[in-house]
Symmetry: C2
Subunit: 883 residues, 2 copies
């Protein structure tokens, strides 16, 4: 703020100064300023730009030209190019020669087209001035509206609109905006002046100030302006415009914009464009109005026009919700001509953009003006229906339809949810991380045992824990939802919940859980065992009491059609991560063609699984200490069973404790130190496969060794595995390999950075690789997924990470290792002429952005939790179509 | 054992069968058996092989030929080539045509040279048969001695030696060895027969059996042989030899040898050679004897002949320690002629091998026979003295001297140690991992506070803990040694101890420590606060009571000379990891030229440091929870100080607990989430540097950000760092950069796999990289250094790892990342034309094998703990000379 005050005569000087980067300094020396055509007009008179000129005209400018070029009624105006901004910096912060001449010429064209005049005391031309680079960028200059108002023009506006209060309200806004945004005046000064007027008239709200009060306010604002800027508020509209253009250019090198570009690594842009556009008023009486609409229903996807309209109002009023708008249908009655025009626009837009549009428009004295069109946001249900129907309507083809549906949103179609309307009345007491979508309402259970017991009695309970561990799995299964105070989206609770499609909120850090007392403290409130909470697994909201949940349909109709198209166009197969028959059945319904990850340790709590398709069984992975009891009661029980003293059991449990269990004695390290565990598991798999054969079930197990880091490990594990397969088959009189023989591929997870780096060595002993990108991400970044909650929010906020790398693969670092391992592995397999499969079984297997990356790596399949299977199928098709 | 019995007619069949690998099967088909010359004679008559033929003659064969060729008196014999072994397999397990003809011819030559005859009843020729590949390999056939004895020849031997008992003892040994090793007879059968004889004669020891008993034993052994093999013990010496040759060849593909080659990845070898050599007897009466010696004193390095001698004895007797040998000087009196010969041999050996030799010899009837020579093992002290003196003697040059001293052993010259003699009387109660060499004796302290308190009172205490943490540092410093029951060589205790050169034994898993009771339980014994233990930090031994320690000299004399040579020839600089003035002073004495790692968190316990040389200050690294008290008493104190409730402190401490702190909220993640900590540290460094300038001290700090994983992190940290430097300098009126300005390089640790993978991006923001290979190894392998103790021993034993990767860098995996990062970083620095330094500051910086690897990567310096500095200096010189 201090710097703003000092920046006389204007902010531009400062901006221009800070703009003296290496590049511009250099260009200034050589004197090479390539500007070309500096101003592009858009309107009925002519339209000089087009949609393809984003780099030159910025996104906004190109879009305005596009709308005009397809004949939409857009308020006319002109765009000053981004090259002109670059020239401004090359000149050391001066407008390039000839620019203002061009601007004046364009203003004259605008005046002519609209029959208005800059500064006129009867029918003044007012414009808005906006910045707009090729990439949307916070930190640049905001809009200046109503530019062109002067002491004289304000009278003209009052006459033209027949609304003096409106005219002076617009003028005081201009002085305020222009003073603050363009000239760097501290906005508190204006606020103090406004307060004084309100006090004088004894009112509290801005809207209650009468017309004479606003006239006095304009005078007061002009005084503030003069005191701060050292000059009168400019009474020449062109001078206002010149200052505003400079301010937009300067804002390109404002601290915030530079910081944003630095963090987002936005490079190769010239500068910002400046859009100058005539104002259109929906608040000029009952023949005017404003509205927003979708060209189709954005919640259901039905092909009906859908929107809201407000008579005698400006766009801001609709958004702000001050007045209740009418349904769009009412517009037909009030403005039949404008409505008919709008219907034509609607058809034209869908034909032009070949997608559902979200539009803003204004009716000024019965005439329709389009202010904006953009692709409309929609629910998953609408996305699917619109895509399928547009194919039927031959607006788009199948491939386009596939590309257009946001794959990640498909889970919405499978899970219960809280509709926004139903959440309105609820009190949100805190918010965690939405880890597994869905809606759950229940009483609180504080331990897994309690959850099991109460669920057994028919109660609906939410399991509330600091964090969960495999010991809690039974309780998690019994609960309707899971709420934890720590952990991120790939914490134990989240991963298990996503696998089951069970609603889960994690990392709700404000919770303080007193397990013993059975109390949950949060933000000054306390909840006990009989209190009901509702959790929204999509948004992370934790609400007091029961909120009504909505259950969507299953895969059928349009959704099934999209899934069929996906299978047709995808190159990668989609398997599932499943450890129980229930999961396997569900995943088959959703279209999975195999199991990519069957975690043996999860079978401690389940039964049996899939037929006729490959099933990759991962051998024991977790650290030993997860298999011993940590509570004294259970320790005592174990001691009794094993004939040991409680002390002995405790000592052993304490010996098994690890400082960093993630990097400890787990995975294949267990198999190597306790080969009997490995042999027992292999025997079980082989015996099961042989039993299935006897029952004419085509079981195709694949054995996967976890946490392999060196070739020597896999070589030894493979040897032991083959020995045990041979041995069991010999016992059962079954042939190994060859025609009709039992053939069990043996492969490994690639989840240790070293395994990726030495993938060529490891491939020599493997029939397949399956990337365990969860652990690979943990070790490549050095992030514990159980602990990341303490710094991930800050990292995302500060732009250190674009996304949670456990949700969407880090394509450069972790992905770099995956790519390296794919290339090395494939090269070895090619040289050895052996069959070799590459897959992924980390949570990234269900993430569309990651799936696109895996397509580039040439993986054969992705594997994800059952509820992500449809997402993965669509994403795989999208990835194939993009490659 | 069962398989051995079945293997009739002989073990060869089985061996040959298992030898049908892919390669040999292929060669057999093509029939291409390239054997060339199959037998190489060595003796006075002629010497056909030479030292360079290791691949063809095996190590042993080439060495025997070498000794003969320089005129040493070696019992003559011949070597059958490794190619012949390959041909044996190519022929499907048959001796190649013509081999036995060649063998017979060579036997004849041997008989002629020695005047003895195979099977003679007056003067029989006896030979030993040994395997010997190019690489020493356990699992292959052991020696067969006395081959050539038959019913007839044994009488000849009895006559020749005048010792009938000796002759029959030799014969029964042959039948036993031949039966067991060559023909696969279960050795228990022989043992039973021997027991029966001993019972008959009422004796307990083998040596008490009279001559007639041995004669009966020979008869009994022949019966066992016939029963088991199905044929008489061969009375044709040449047939014995043929069987023995086949047995050696077969043993090449025995299970153990194959397994050994698989694990050690020994490839490209043809097979084993067979060495047939005449026997020489030192036990033929008082004119015979045997001895071992070093050509110089192997403990002090003094140029004196040093060894032991035993009259009328065989080599085995010296090694077994049954009789007490005499000093070598006594030999001069007894065998003046043989001794004079030996002196000549000694001189010749040193001239030929240009190194101190470890020799074995036998005197048979006054004639000297050399049985073996090899480079002698020596203490570090001896290695240094011998190298320096040999340069003086012009036997070798400086470079050879440098290459020859085992760098890792130099620490022996700096630390107190328990001499083997002094340990003899002590009771070793358990053994841990020798983590930091040295010798320590003290009473037991069970907490850090107790150690500090008792040390303050003048007691010498050993700190005994399950594991140590930064809270224990003061106690560790006060103790004379540290003993832990968990952790490996890079656990907290080990790393801190090595840094201080303090004796430390970790991972003594048999210890059970009861901190509250102040008791240590181990293997049925209990030790309390007043009991004294002695720990050997080199071997890991834990001994009862006080053991005398020996303190070696400091750097001076020959040692200093070697260090000077090292500096002259090294390319990489050697810095030190030091956090206190004491460490810095010590490291300077040892020749460090800067500090490569100054850990700010360790300064919580220390003071100030180094002048005129670069000092790389690493910013705060450990997880937050290490800075809060974990014991209730201290928590209560903190609560009082901060005006909080104990509950609040406990809750916060529990919030800071992490599941995997190694992968948690630490390193630069702290700086990014708490920028005030970063700014405070930068301010302190800059203010200190400015104060030093005022005092005319040339302080050259370098600021190092730990745990960086992404370019964005370092970019932001660098920005904040530069801002703070600017700010402090502005306050103090000091210029930044330029001539005489304060110039502080800003760099990063490369210790996260992702940082290595994206080193090109990160290098854009860095003035230097310092590889933190400890953490990089943890994350690349997925091994927690605090938890590796539970599986590392099994991994080393099973050959999954060749070495502890925390001690010596894994050049393929972790090293692959280091190399990649070096290349990427240098390329960026080159493109940007900026100064860029590469160093390493993990514990690997003091490991010779790792230093050799870092030389290949082109690092500018290594940094290690003060006591490793001399090691690193020598290793750096060795690495430079080898590259």
């Amino acid at each position: 703020m201090a710097s703003k005050k000092k920046s006389k005569p204007s902010k531009q000087g400062k901006g221009a100064k800070s703009g003296k980067g290496k590049k511009s300094a250099k260009a200034a020396k050589t004197g090479k300023v390539k500007t070309g055509k500096m101003v592009f007009y858009f309107g009925e008179t002519k339209c000089e730009g087009h949609a393809g000129q984003k780099m030159l005209l910025g996104g906004k400018g190109a879009n305005l030209a596009d709308m005009v070029s397809i004949g939409l009624p857009v308020p006319p105006g002109f765009t000053i190019t981004t090259d002109t901004c670059a020239a401004y910096y090359d000149c050391g912060g001066k407008l390039p020669k000839g620019l203002m001449d061009d601007v004046r010429a364009n203003i004259r064209m605008l005046e002519k087209e609209l029959g208005k005049k800059f500064g006129s005391d009867t029918n003044p031309l007012l414009v808005s001035v906006r910045s707009g680079a090729a990439v949307s960028m916070p930190g640049m200059m905001d809009t200046v509206l109503n530019l062109g108002l002067t002491d004289k023009a304000v009278e003209g506006l009052a006459k033209g609109t027949g609304n003096r209060r409106f005219a002076f309200d617009a003028y005081r806004r201009l002085i305020n905006m222009f003073g603050d945004v363009v000239m760097g005046v501290d906005h508190h000064k204006f606020e103090h002046a406004f307060s004084a007027i309100k006090t004088k008239y004894g009112v509290k709200e801005d809207t209650q100030v009468p017309t004479e009060g606003l006239e006095e306010l304009v005078a007061a604002y002009k005084k503030v302006y003069k005191d701060q800027v050292g000059a009168d508020f400019p009474q020449d509209p062109l001078l206002q415009l010149e200052h505003a253009i400079k301010a937009v250019f300067s804002s390109w090198n404002g601290d915030r914009a530079i910081e944003y570009r630095r963090i987002q690594e936005i490079k190769g842009l010239n500068g910002t464009a400046v859009n100058v556009q005539a104002m259109a008023y929906g608040n000029m009486g009952d023949t005017s109005g404003t509205g927003v609409a979708f060209t189709r229903d954005n919640t259901t996807g039905e092909n009906v026009f859908y929107g809201e309209f407000l008579v005698n109002a400006q766009g801001e009023d609709v958004v702000a919700g001050i007045r209740t708008p009418e349904p769009i249908a009412m517009m037909e009655k009030r403005f039949p001509k404008a409505y008919a025009h709008l219907m034509k626009v609607r058809a034209k837009l869908e034909k032009h953009y070949k997608d559902m549009q979200d539009i803003e428009f204004t009716v000024e004295n019965g005439k329709l003006f389009m202010l904006q069109t953009r692709t409309g946001k929609r629910t998953a249900q609408a996305a699917v229906r619109i895509a399928v129907e547009m194919v039927k309507e031959k607006l788009i083809d199948e491939k386009t339809a596939i590309k257009r549906i946001p794959a990640g949103d498909l889970t919405q179609l499978l899970l219960p949810y809280f509709a926004a309307a139903d959440k309105k009345g609820a009190v949100t007491v805190t918010r965690g991380i939405g880890a597994s979508p869905g809606a759950a309402t229940g009483k609180l259970a504080f331990t897994a045992a309690e959850a099991v017991e109460r669920a057994h009695k028919g109660e609906k309970v939410l399991l509330v824990r600091k964090e969960t561990s495999p010991e809690d799995v039974a309780g998690m299964h019994s609960a309707v939802g899971i709420l934890t105070s720590t952990g991120g989206k790939t914490s134990h609770a989240a991963v298990v919940a996503v696998g089951w499609g069970k609603c889960c909120v994690v990392g709700a850090g404000e919770l303080s859980i007193d397990e013993k007392a059975g109390k949950l403290h949060v933000n000054g409130r306390t909840f006990g065992r009989d209190d009901v909470l509702s959790i929204d697994g999509a948004t992370g909201e934790v609400m007091v009491g029961a909120v009504k949940a909505t259950i969507p349909e299953k895969i059928s109709g349009d959704f099934a059609k999209v899934m069929d198209w996906s299978t047709k166009h995808a190159e990668m197969k989609v398997r599932t991560n499943a450890d129980s028959p229930e999961d396997a059945r569900r995943a088959r319904e959703f279209g999975a063609v195999g199991i990519g990850l069957c975690r043996t340790e999860h079978m401690f709590f389940g039964g049996d699984r899939m037929d006729g398709l490959p099933v990759t069984v991962r051998l024991l992975d977790p650290p030993l200490h997860e298999f011993v009891p940590h509570e004294e009661k259970q320790q005592a029980e174990l001691a009794r069973e094993m004939g040991l003293s409680l002390e002995q059991v405790k000592r052993r449990v304490s010996q098994l404790h690890e400082a960093n269990p993630m990097l400890g004695h787990r995975g294949c390290r267990l198999a190597i130190t306790y080969p009997e565990i490995l042999r027992m598991q292999i025997r079980a798999i082989v015996e099961a496969a042989i039993e299935c054969r006897a029952k004419k079930v085509d079981a195709r197990p694949e054995i996967m060794h976890p946490l392999v880091g060196t070739k020597k490990e896999l070589a030894l594990l493979r040897k032991w595995t083959e020995e045990t397969i041979q041995q069991v088959c010999a016992e059962k009189g079954v042939k190994v390999g060859g025609k009709n023989g039992l053939d069990i591929p043996i492969g490994t997870m690639i989840e240790i950075p070293r395994a990726a780096v030495t993938a060529d060595e490891i491939a020599e002993c493997a029939d397949f690789f399956s990337y365990g990108t969860n652990d690979l991400t943990q070790m490549t970044f050095g992030y514990s997924r159980d602990d990341i909650g303490s710094f991930l929010p800050a990292y995302l906020e500060k732009g250190m990470l674009e996304k949670d790398p456990f949700q969407s693969i880090d394509t450069v670092g972790v992905g770099g290792l995956v790519k390296m391992a794919c290339e090395k592995g494939r090269a070895v397999a090619k040289a050895e002429k052996k069959a070799f499969k590459l897959g992924v079984c980390g949570e990234h297997g269900g993430d569309p952005a990651s799936i696109a990356f895996f397509q580039k790596c040439g993986l054969d399949y992705v594997s994800c939790s059952p509820f992500r299977v449809p997402v993965a199928r669509l994403a795989a098709a999208q990835a194939a179509l993009k490659s």
